[in-house]
């Protein structure tokens, strides 16, 4: 095990896989950085410092610094994938899927199905998402719900450096298109990461991060740490919570969710996105449909409000879920008879 940051787990895993497999290529805006400037290539090394040293190691053919052209970036990833490569495209901000949505939604997600199963599309679209930087309405969103709802895509939302490594390696070795969602506020998070160069985490397997008998809390990405914070506080009062990190929202580990709810009978879902037509409502519907008899209380949802993301510190804090809100939701679920 090595201790490293979430962002370095992204960078190191891609780097190792590029060394292992010459078909892995990286493309995106400023993934090299400094092209055409006095500073020269590698003056940046990726705006999130997740591709430092790539250009020097693998050259311009495999580390493709693109113009600001999100549609062409994702489209080119699709064309590369149909031509035998394993492209990893970076969308600097997940919010930019709005610009490139046709290529995600109508193209790469559907190639295999539309073409009668006779092709594969091993493309990864890295989406850097989430609030916490006071980056306001167009650079802070969590658009995982609309992507999770698209048949043909797999959607990954790691919450720790160890999971980044295992899930990214799995994503690169997958033959289906993957949306890999990296939470920008977690980039500095440190944790132990497996040294094994073949360590992968299969998709569709949730992780139980806290165990308890009284309530189930579901979370992804940055919400996992908040759920754990709430669970730890509740534990001091003798309240036990299962905290389940979904890891991937498509495929979804329904079994882990339903098994836990059967025991606890109470469910709190934490989601960083607004509440309507969301991951939270989707999970609530699944549990209501498949574990209705186990429920002892209405399902509680701790989500962002139905608003764009505001800029000011006070406003963004008020917008986001936090451990106190989660704790309150748990207590409400427990109080119901």
């Amino acid at each position: 095990m090595a201790r490293k940051m979430y962002r370095d787990a992204v960078r190191d895993t891609i780097f190792e896989e590029m060394k292992r497999d010459p078909n892995v290529v990286v493309l995106g805006e400023d993934v090299v950085g400094g092209m055409g400037t006095a500073g020269g290539p590698e003056a940046i090394g990726g705006i999130w410092s997740t591709s430092g040293g790539f250009y020097e190691a693998f050259g311009p053919d495999r580390v493709i610094d693109t113009p600001i052209s999100e549609s062409a970036i994702v489209g080119a990833a699709g064309g590369l994938a149909l031509s035998g490569k394993r492209p990893i495209a970076e969308l600097m901000f997940a919010d930019f899927i709005g610009v490139s949505l046709d290529q995600i939604w109508n193209q790469i997600a559907k190639f295999r199905y539309m073409f009668g199963g006779k092709t594969k599309c091993p493309a990864i679209i890295r989406c850097i998402y989430g609030a916490g930087y006071n980056a306001a309405a167009q650079h802070s969103q969590s658009p995982h719900a609309i992507l999770t709802g698209m048949p043909g895509l797999k959607v990954v939302m790691p919450s720790t450096p160890a999971d980044v490594a295992g899930l990214m390696r799995q994503a690169i070795r997958e033959d289906d298109p993957v949306i890999f969602m990296e939470h920008k506020a977690l980039y500095g998070m440190k944790g132990e990461v497996h040294d094994d160069p073949d360590y992968t985490i299969p998709f569709g397997h949730a992780r139980l991060t806290r165990a308890g008998q009284d309530v189930t809390i579901l979370a992804t990405g940055m919400m996992v740490g908040m759920a754990e914070g709430a669970a730890d506080k509740l534990a001091a009062d003798g309240i036990g919570a299962d905290v389940i990190d979904l890891r991937t929202t498509s495929p979804l580990d329904e079994e882990a969710i339903l098994d836990s709810v059967e025991v606890t009978g109470r469910l709190v879902i934490v989601d960083e996105a607004p509440p309507r037509c969301s991951l939270a409502t989707d999970l609530a519907a699944i549990v209501a449909n498949k574990a209705f008899a186990s429920l002892k209380a209405p399902i509680e949802m701790v989500t962002a409000p139905h608003t764009p993301i505001p800029f000011a510190r006070e406003l963004e804090s008020a917008y986001l879920p936090n451990p106190d809100k989660i704790e309150a939701a748990v207590r409400k679920a427990l109080a119901y008879n």
Partner: protein
């Protein structure tokens, strides 16, 4: 024309296959037997064939909603395509794609596309892959071709793709087929550049060519030059072919936007197959009789394809769930 007798016969055969394929479909669709939306390529055959005759299976093309001609020219199976359009599970895409999504990756055909302008970025990705793979023993790169119409030339995706191809020096070729109509709107209204698409590509920094898309020999000769240039590693290029669409935007389109007598005129003066026939027989390169023989062969082949499509196995409700993912 610099082609051998065999090549000329093959070019004629392929153009005729496309024409008959589309003419048959036009009749069958009117009978109500075929589901969905169909956009026919008849009239533009010299472009698809004049371009694709230069390509191997390792060269890639990305097509449009009007894709049957590109698919047939690139070597997709006639019967497999017909079955696909009929929605059979024996079709090229098992009945999952239909007319607008025919693809055959092994033939280098990366898909027709229902979204106007969506193909060019995909073609650039395939061109980047060809650049990574490098030159063959003869010093030639594989290429990737984006077919786009005068409608797609107005989409931002096409602009992005052209710029990215230039920036990455990818062996991409943008083939613009100007058939004068984007759906039901005239080219002169919708394309701001005065009567020209190629100048847009030129403005992105590409070398461009222009030719009469109803003249097979002009298309073929132009593409020889374009391909020599791109295969040698000079970066992307673009070509604009002026051509004609014999049918409507979609089957069922009443075409009220056409001028009086326009269809008769273009069929009389701008039919690429008729012009090809006249040119090669007048130059005594081929005999009328051998072309008649091809006409008969092709007609019977298409008729058989229609027959087999009509009888082909239908998909079942279980097939809906298959091939979304490789593993889920």
């Amino acid at each position: 024309m610099q082609l051998s007798r065999e090549d000329l016969l093959e070019a004629y055969r392929r153009m005729k296959i496309i024409r008959d394929f589309e003419d048959f479909l036009h009749d069958e669709i009117a009978k109500g037997e075929i589901a969905g939306f169909t956009h026919l390529y008849a009239g533009q055959e010299a472009v698809a064939v004049g371009v694709c005759e230069h390509l191997t299976d390792d060269d890639k093309i990305v097509s449009t909603h009007r894709g049957h001609g590109h698919c047939l020219a690139k070597g997709c199976d006639v019967e497999g395509m017909m079955k696909e359009i009929w929605g059979s599970r024996e079709g090229l895409c098992k009945g999952k794609g239909g007319s607008m999504h025919i693809a055959d990756i092994d033939k280098g055909m990366l898909g027709a596309n229902g979204i106007v302008g969506a193909g060019a970025p995909i073609a650039v990705g395939a061109a980047i892959a060809a650049k990574i793979d490098g030159k063959d023993e003869n010093g030639n790169l594989k290429v990737s071709i984006a077919f786009s119409g005068d409608g797609a030339c107005n989409q931002g995706t096409t602009f992005e793709a052209m710029n990215m191809a230039v920036v990455t020096k990818a062996p991409a070729i943008f083939v613009f087929e100007n058939n004068h109509y984007s759906e039901h709107t005239g080219f002169e209204y919708a394309v701001g550049t005065d009567k020209d698409i190629a100048s847009r590509a030129e403005a992105f920094g590409m070398k461009v060519w222009r030719a009469d898309g109803t003249d097979f020999s002009a298309v073929h000769d132009t593409m020889r030059e374009v391909l020599e240039y791109v295969r040698a590693g000079n970066g992307p290029a673009a070509v604009e072919f002026d051509t004609e669409r014999f049918y409507g935007h979609f089957e069922g389109d009443p075409q009220r936007y056409r001028a009086k007598g326009e269809l008769d005129r273009i069929r009389a003066e701008r039919d690429c197959i008729k012009k090809f026939r006249e040119t090669v027989t007048e130059a005594k390169l081929l005999e009328g009789e051998e072309l008649d023989k091809i006409d008969a062969e092709v007609a019977s082949r298409i008729e058989k394809a229609v027959e087999s499509a009509r009888k082909a196995e239908r998909p079942t409700a279980e097939d809906v769930l298959v091939d979304v993912y490789i593993d889920y």
